[in-house]
Amino acid sequence: MQKEKLKERDPDEAPSRAWAMGAAGWLFPGAGHLLQGHWARALILGGAVWVCFVCGLMMGGHMFSFGGDQQGLSALLQIPPMIANLGSGLLYLTSWFFDVGFADDPQSAARATYEYGTTFLLIAGLLNYLVMLDAFDISAERKS
């Protein structure tokens, strides 16, 4: 019965479990692999995202959000980097909630590592999108 169900299933159709793993991976970097028992992958992939994000914050990087003081085109230009930042999931949301890394003052921007930090924060989010897709693919049995 179970085998018949598997045969009937469209190979392109991902099970709901895969979506849940992807969502978990996005929300908490590494959780998508951890919940599937891939400890080593979770440690390396999730660890890379966490290290990237924490280093970015320690370097005084800036995260982007929609709204705020900007208006018009300037506000729209905030959207692409915000999407990259949003990839960090709960890390981004927690920082946003506590207003950490969102300050747009000249003192922060004057730091020598400001640009590096901002780049690290962007990269952390983008890497987590890849990690999230990897967790999704493993759960959907598209890769081992």
């Binding site: 992958r41 390396i44 992939l45 890379a48 995202v49 290290v51 990237c52 280093c55 370097m59 020598a112 590592t113 590096y116 780049t119 690290f120 990269i123 890497l127 890849l130 990690v131 897709l133 990897d134 890769k143 081992s144």
Partner: protein
């Protein structure tokens, strides 16, 4: 020196993720990770030297 260390850290983290996500077997993952890391470092250093010789106005240098 700090710039180089930051670039190395970035290359290492990105290479680790790319290597694991892109390949299946541990050997392939390691080799691809090393290749990506080397590419980041070599291209980064090459670009740094190219930019070093380009006179960027009166910024004053570092």
């Amino acid at each position: 020196m700090r710039h180089f260390l930051v670039m190395t850290l970035f290359a290492f983290l990105a290479a680790a993720v790319f290597g694991i996500v892109a390949k299946d077997s541990p050997r392939e993952q390691f080799l691809y990770g090393v290749k990506v890391f080397a590419e980041f470092m070599i291209i980064g250093l090459a670009l740094a030297w190219i930019l070093y010789f380009i006179p960027f106005s009166d910024y004053g240098g570092h």
